[in-house]
Structure formats: C-alpha cells, structure tokens
C-alpha cells in the first residue's frame, strides 16, 4: 500500500502542468493535428506557396540533403513537396503521391481540387496528416515524412513514408539461449515494436510516444499492458521522463540514467534487454518497457536484483534443471564477489580454517611469492580485468591472440617466475568465469567493481572486513528502490509467494500469481492446474 501512496504523491506532482514539458515541447505524431492552437496559427500562416517554401529554405539553410520539388497537380494547381533525401521511400513518393496528385480527376477549378485533396483524401496512401503549422511541418520533415504544400491553402499534408537504412532482425548476441526464440531487437524502433506486437496480440498493449533530445529528437515509446500494469507506475515513468532535458539520446542508457532512483549506485536500477520475449514476459508481469529509437537495447522497469539473475533460458528449459542452474548462478554470484577476498582473508588471518594438507599445498605454492596475499590478489585481478577489457574491445581477429598471450603470461609464466602463486591463478580464473555466469552484464559489472573494495577490507581486517563489506553492500541494496519497488524484493522485504520465481523456477502450472509487488491490477494469472497423470485423468 505504501508504494501506492508514494505513487499517488508522485502523481499529484505530475498533475502540475508546469512539470510536464513532454507534450508541450515534443508533441505527439499520432495526435490530431487540427488542434485549436494549430488553427489559430493557420490564420496568420501565409497562403502563398512561395512564401512557405522560402521559410523552409531559410530553416534548412545549408542543408544539402533537403529536396524541394515543385510540380503542377490536377486543375493546374501548383504543389510542391519537401523531404530529406534518403530517409523516405522515394518509390512511394513518385507513384502514390506525386503521380496520384497529378491525375486526380477533379473539376476545372483549383478549389475543387484542394477540397478533393484535403477533405476527400483522394490519394492512394495508407496514412496522412494535415497540419497548418510550419514548425510542425519542419519537425516532421526531419522525422522522415514528406510535406506537401498546396498553393492557395494554408493547410499542408504530411505523408509518413520514412524508410531508413537498417539492419535486418538477427540472432540475439548477448543473451543467448539454446531453446527459445532467437530474434533480437534491432536499431529501428518500429521493427522492434513489431517484434513485440507479434508476441502480444492484444489491444491492451499500449504504446505511448515521446521525443527526447533537442537535436536528436529520438523517439521513445512507453509500452505496457493496460489492466495488468498499474496506472500509477505508468504515471511515475512518465513523470520521471518529463524531467529529462538533454541534447541528444544516443542509446537507451541515456534514458536509463535519467530515470534511476539512486543516481549514485553501481547497481542497475532498470534492466536492459535485447530480447523481445524478455520484454513481453516483463510486460505480462505488469512492468513497463521503454523503447528507445536507434538502439537494440530496450529498458524494463521496475526491476529487482533477482530478476537480473534470471535468464530467458530458465523459462524454456525443464523447470527442475532450470532451478538447479539458478542455484549454481547464485553460488557463483557469491564466488565472483567474494572468492579473492576469502582467499586473502583466510591465507592472511585465518590459516587454521584450512585442513592441514590443503594448508601445506597453499603455503608451499605461496612460499616463493614475494608479495603479501592482498598485493598478489590485486595484481592478478587487475591484470585479468585488463585481459577481459582488451578481448572485448579488440578487433575480433586480434582478440584470440590477446587471450592466448594473456593466458600464457598470467597462467604459466607468472607462476613459473614465482611472481604469483598457482593457487591465486586458480582463484582468479574461477572468479573470472563466475562473473560471466551472471546473466545481466550490468549487474556483473557492478559486482566486479565491488570486488576490489571488499578485497581491500579483507586484506586489512580478514573475515571481519569481508563481513563489513557485505553488510555495507547489503545496506545499500536494501535501501535501493527501482521505481518504488524495493530492490531485494522477495527476500527483504520478505514475500514468500514470490520465491517461486526466485529461489526456484516453479513450473508454469504453479505460477498462479504475478509478482506481488508491483501492485498489479490482476494479481492472478490465467493458469491451469497441475497436469494430471493419465490414470488420474481416467478415474476422475
């Protein structure tokens, strides 16, 4: 209930018109252009075509890619189109707009032609908008629409026939699954929306459009399922978006950072994904997805820590094995955060914890090493970070070589030279592998960063230092919220009912309720009972 109340206050803040520049500044392309203000402007707007084209020429001064094309349409009316070369479908422009406008069968007078065009909509296109505002026309030309100006009428027609060069839908590269759909989002937002719409064929899937970036005018879509997603959450998302004032939006992280609850946290407070099925799943749980144009990574909010430990694969595999894999993941999460620190703490402060034989082995390998354990661990971890970063950034052909050299130098040569101990190499490589097991890359990154302070604490205070590090991290996580949802949700605060998708991956016939926390409107999912065995079915 508290979250709800919190939303309410946020909502009341939203009600203040001064706080909501989205609509006033950016406007919506789907909105009816014949708004009162628009018409008022139309009175002052020049009717002469030459004047308007002159205005646009002034605006597009030194823009060589803008095309102005004048032609004579039916009934001898002078028309012209303005568009930007390369971002529209010129074929459609020729066939369905210019050619069609030339051949409209109207009476002799120009007025009749104009009426046919504007009221009769006698052009063979699937969508057109009418505006009288020059600035609106300017904005829409930049979005890739074609502006048709007719001499003698203040109104202008916009044809959304944009066509950009874009990548075809391809396999997901970062979030790979073995079973399950392979397609991933691309840079084009309308293609991405199609991918989602193909999965959620419901009128309840709502998409609201906004534009961000003074110069980029990036299209941003807020998508949610009406009736599942709580209205307060959508309002909160809109409210946070309304705070954004930015020059350009070049990727979804620009938006992500602007809507975070705690801007100083290393942990991701919204999730990104390149998989349409993950977005669809999140929407079905009552979350909101934010699509950003020109990026294949879409944002999901709100998220919890445990959501980022779930991979899409879990839901496509057998639930028993998926549960096991999930446990392995939790184990390696701890390992990736703590193993080097544990090694440092145990070898430096608590060697009595190890069994005698193991102790002898470890001590033997550490015997020739000239550094204390903490320095050794730091050296190795830092160089491993370097290798990892290099292999990601290097051109692919060289990447192989880097990893081979790195492995050789660190794995063999350093041990043989007695700079580091063999045990440390094992620790570092297990840690490295462990950090790749975490499904969400950003979360792995946060843990990678946190590993170093905890290592220092372990070097100074042993296990007590590790505990301190864990406590501080935990305190931070506990205080973190993602759009009002506590970050560690099913564990702290405890919601036992949600453990079905956190501690285990329950079979679908047990997932009766959506995760509680988002105050979803319909808590119960459509579900079927446990599948009956054939003999049970026969008897009943």
């Amino acid at each position: 209930m508290t979250i709800f109340r919190w939303f309410k206050t946020a909502k009341s803040a939203l009600g203040n018109p001064g706080l909501d520049p989205i609509r006033s500044v950016a406007g919506q392309p789907n909105a009816n252009p014949q708004q009162p203000s628009d018409l008022e402007e139309a009175i002052d707007a020049p009717i002469s075509m030459e004047q308007r084209i002159g205005w646009y020429r002034e605006q597009f001064d030194r823009c060589s890619d803008v095309v102005y094309f004048s032609f004579v349409a039916g009934a001898g009316t002078a028309c012209s189109v303005i568009f930007i070369q390369g971002i529209i479908n010129e074929e459609t422009l020729h066939r369905q707009i210019i050619e069609a406008a030339m051949t409209i069968r109207s009476g002799e007078s120009s007025e009749q032609f104009v009426r046919q065009l504007f009221e009769g909509r006698r052009l063979p296109v699937s969508s057109m908008d009418i505006t009288a505002s020059l600035t609106e026309g300017l904005r829409r030309i930049l979005l890739g629409e074609v502006l048709l100006i007719v001499d003698g009428d203040a109104r202008m027609i916009l044809f959304p026939i944009e066509k950009f060069a874009m990548r075809a839908v391809s396999n997901a590269e970062n979030e790979v699954v073995i079973r399950g759909p392979r397609d991933a989002f691309v840079e084009d937002i309308s293609t991405n929306l199609t991918l989602l719409r193909r999965r959620l064929k419901s009128p309840a899937l709502k998409t609201e459009t906004y534009f961000f970036g003074k110069h980029t005018q990036t299209k941003v879509l807020i998508t949610y399922i009406d009736g599942i997603c709580m209205e307060g959450l959508v309002d909160e998302v809109k409210h946070r978006l309304s705070r954004i004032r930015i020059d350009g939006v070049l990727g979804s992280s620009y938006i992500q950072e602007a809507v975070a609850d705690n801007p100083f946290s290393p942990f991701p407070q919204t999730m990104y994904t390149e998989r349409p099925d993950v977005v669809a799943g999140a929407l079905l749980e009552g979350r909101v997805a934010i699509f950003v144009d020109s990026t294949p990574m879409q944002i999901i909010a709100p998220v919890t820590f445990y959501m980022m430990m779930q991979s899409a694969e879990d839901y496509y595999q057998n639930y028993i094995s998926a549960t096991w894999i999930r446990w392995i993941r939790y184990l390696y999460l701890l390992i990736s955060l703590l193993l080097p620190s544990l090694y440092v703490a145990v070898t430096t402060y608590h060697p009595e914890m190890l069994p005698a034989n193991l102790l002898i082995t470890v001590a033997g390998s550490r015997d020739i090493v000239p550094f204390p354990a903490i320095v050794e661990a730091f050296l190795m971890e830092i160089s491993f970070e370097a290798i990892r970063e290099a292999t990601v950034r290097m051109p692919k052909q060289i990447g192989q070589a880097i990893s081979v050299i790195g492995a050789l130098v660190i794995g063999t040569a350093a041990v043989q030279a007695g700079i580091v101990s063999g045990a440390m190499v094992i620790i570092v490589s297990i840690t490295g592998i462990a950090s790749f097991i975490i499904p969400h890359y950003e979360l792995g990154l946060a843990l990678r960063v946190l590993r170093f302070p905890i290592m220092i604490m372990a070097g100074v205070f042993g296990l007590l230092g590790i505990v301190t590090g864990i406590i501080l991290t935990f305190l931070h996580l506990v205080s973190l919220r993602s759009f009002g949802t506590p970050y560690l949700t099913p564990t702290a605060p405890l919601v036992l009912a949600d453990w079905k998708d956190v501690a285990v991956r329950a079979p679908w016939w047990r997932m009766k309720a959506r995760p509680h926390l988002y105050q979803t409107d319909h808590e119960k999912r459509e579900h079927f009972g446990k599948p009956k065995l054939p003999e049970e079915e026969g008897s009943s």
Binding site: M353, P355, G462, L463, L464, T468, F474, L475, L494
Partner: protein, 367 residues
C-alpha cells in the same frame, strides 16, 4: 513512513535478543547458576518479556504517538526530559557496551595485532550507515541476514554431538537451587528485556495490538537459540569450566570439524554472528538517535547518526580500561542501570498515567 510488518519485527528482535547473549552472557550465567543455567535463562526470557509487556501497555495508551513526544503529557516536562535523556544515554551506553565486548572479543581471539579502535571503527562505520539509511533499512537487513545467522547458530549442535557427555543430562534435570536460578535470571534478563525498545518506535509497527504475541515468539526462539548452545556447552565443558572460560561459545564452535575437511569453522560462524552484533548495535543506536532527535524537536533524525556513532565508538573504547573492569561494571552497575531503564521508567509512566486516567476519566476514556 513505511510501517514494519510483524515478520520483520520478529526477525530483528530474535537476532537482537540472542546474539549478544550467546557470546557474552553464557559464561557469567553458568558461573552463578551452575546446572540451573538453562532454567535461569528461560526465567530471564520470561522476565524480559514481562518488562516488554509494561512498555507495550504504556505504548498502547497512545498507539499513534511516539513515546518521547507524549511522555511530557504524563509526568510533566521537567521530569520527562531528564528521564528521556537517561533513556537515550542508556541506549548509547548499551550500544557501546556491546561494541566494546565485540571489540575485545575480536582483538583477543583473532586480531592480536589490531588495535581495538580499528575494529570498533569498522563496525561503527557499518552501524552509522545503517542508522543513516534508516529504520526500514535495519529491519530489511535483519530479514536478509536472518536465515544466515540462524543457520550458523543451528548448525553447531549437529556437529559436536559426539563430544557431548550425555551423563551430564541427569544433573541438568535434577539439580535445583532457587538462589542460583534467581541470580542467573538477574544476570541474563536485561539481555531479553532489551526488547522494551519497541516503546520508542511503537507507532511504526503495523497492527500494534499483535506486538505482544510477536515479542513472545521472538523471545521463545531467542531462548531456544541460546539453549541449543548452552546445553551442549554444559555437557562438553561442565558448568564450572563454562563459567571460567571467557568465550565459551567460541570454544564450543572450535570443536566443530566437518568430515576432516574443514577443520575450524569458527571464523565463518563468527563472521555471520558478527552481522547479528552489528544489527543489535544499530537497533540500540537507532533508538538513541531517534529519541534524541525527537527530544530536540528536529525534523529528521538522519543527520545525527554519524556524530552519535562517533560518540558511541569513543565511549566504547574509553569506558573501561580493561575487559575485567567492564565485567565488574556489568556485575555491579550495568544490570541495575538496565533494570531502571527497562522496567522502572516505563512502570513509572504507566502508573502515573493510570492514576491520571482515574482522575480525569473524561479526558482519557478507559480502554
């Protein structure tokens, strides 16, 4: 402000009640009440619960208000302010005593080279952050650590049962000495009576009427947690030795060896247990900071957290010159001070309020 559900309250109070008891009271308890220590422990738990009951009754008189704010209506401003300050000091002092005991423990057992202020400062940093984050943070933290701490407590008796001398059982059952029980209960009940801190933040508890039941459950679980360490310790070491050991529970943990592979698990267990100590200290400190801010009529308690934590850390280091001095203090003054704050002060308020209620029936309708 988010109200805390009872599950969180129970979890934090369980941790709050048993972590300090299990490590610092076991020895003195066994020393004074020998074989009756376990009865004394149960009695102490009951007494502590009784103390909490008084505070609960007092809090229920005005369930929507904070004690520090309405206290002056009961006994007048000039008595209320010093008494509240005394309570604040009690919270600070309890926090620093536990911090000191913890520091002593760490320094003597694990970090002989490390000065005690370093240990105290590290824990102090955590505590200050916890108090800074606030009330919800402490409770959620307790919820997160609860299963780990409880697991590490429950694991111990399973791995040491082959060391136990079960013949000792008969002495545990048959031996009865009333004075010994009373003395033991006197020693241990302030540890359980600590739950009277609910008085400070009572309006934040969701559905306050059920509080007594939650407190009872928490106390019962906490008693059980201590018993499963106390009884094995008695059976392995005998009460005399338990009484003489400084940290009997640590010695108990050192008996663990899991299948010849992990020899000494005690650092791990101590690590998980120390997070319980951290929670205990932060609850005390939170109460102190919160009451102080209300007493000074500040809008927010958070800015006080760091400065008060600094005071607690210095107090814990300087309060006694040696751990012996601390033990002596606990024996002669600590317990009495605790009784006054946990029992006498709430009782005073309750009595005055009842008497006043009798005289002015119209003003406070009887519940």
């Amino acid at each position: 402000m988010e109200r805390i559900p009872h599950s969180q309250l129970i979890m934090l109070l369980i941790i709050f009640e048993f972590t300090a008891t299990i490590s610092f009271v076991l020895g003195p308890l066994a020393a004074v009440s020998n074989y009756d220590a376990w009865i004394a422990l149960i009695a102490a738990g009951m007494i502590g619960w009784g103390f909490a009951w008084i505070s609960y009754k007092l809090a229920m008189r005005r369930p929507q208000q904070f004690f520090v704010q309405y206290g002056s209506q009961i006994i007048g401003r000039w008595l209320h302010i010093p008494l509240s300050l005394l309570l604040v000091f009690y919270f600070l002092h309890s926090a620093s005593i536990i911090l000191r005991e913890f520091g002593d423990f760490m320094v003597t057992e694990y970090y002989q080279q490390t000065p005690i202020w370093a240990v105290a400062a590290v824990i102090g940093l955590c505590v200050a952050c916890a108090v800074r984050i606030g009330f919800e943070g402490i409770f959620r933290c307790a919820q997160g650590f609860f299963f780990i701490i409880l697991g590490s407590i429950f694991i111990v008796p399973f791995f040491i049962n082959k060391e136990m001398n079960f013949a000792m059982m008969s002495a545990l059952v048959k031996h009865r000495e009333l004075p010994e029980i009373l003395r033991g209960a006197y020693l241990a009940s302030p540890m359980y009576g600590g739950i009277f801190v609910i008085l400070v933040f009572f309006p934040w508890i969701k559905n306050g009427k059920k509080t007594m039941r939650s407190l009872g459950l928490a106390t019962a679980v906490a008693i059980f947690c201590v018993l499963i360490h106390l009884v094995p310790a008695m059976m392995i070491f005998s009460p005399k030795l338990v009484g003489d050991l400084t940290y009997p529970d640590l010695e108990l943990m050192r008996y663990i060896s899991v299948g010849d592979f992990l020899e000494n698990l005690d650092p791990i267990l101590v690590a998980s247990w120390s997070s319980g100590i951290f929670l205990t200290i932060s609850l005390y400190l939170f109460c102190a900071v919160f009451s102080l801010s209300q007493l000074l009529k500040m809008p927010d308690y958070k800015p006080l957290s760091f400065s008060v934590t600094a005071i607690v850390v210095t107090l814990s280091i300087t309060m006694a010159r040696s751990s012996n001095e601390l033990t002596l203090y606990m024996k002669h003054a600590g317990m009495l001070f605790a009784y006054i704050c946990q029992f006498a002060i709430p009782l005073l308020y309750l009595t005055v309020d009842t008497i006043r209620g009798k005289f002015q029936k119209t003003k406070y309708p009887a519940k």
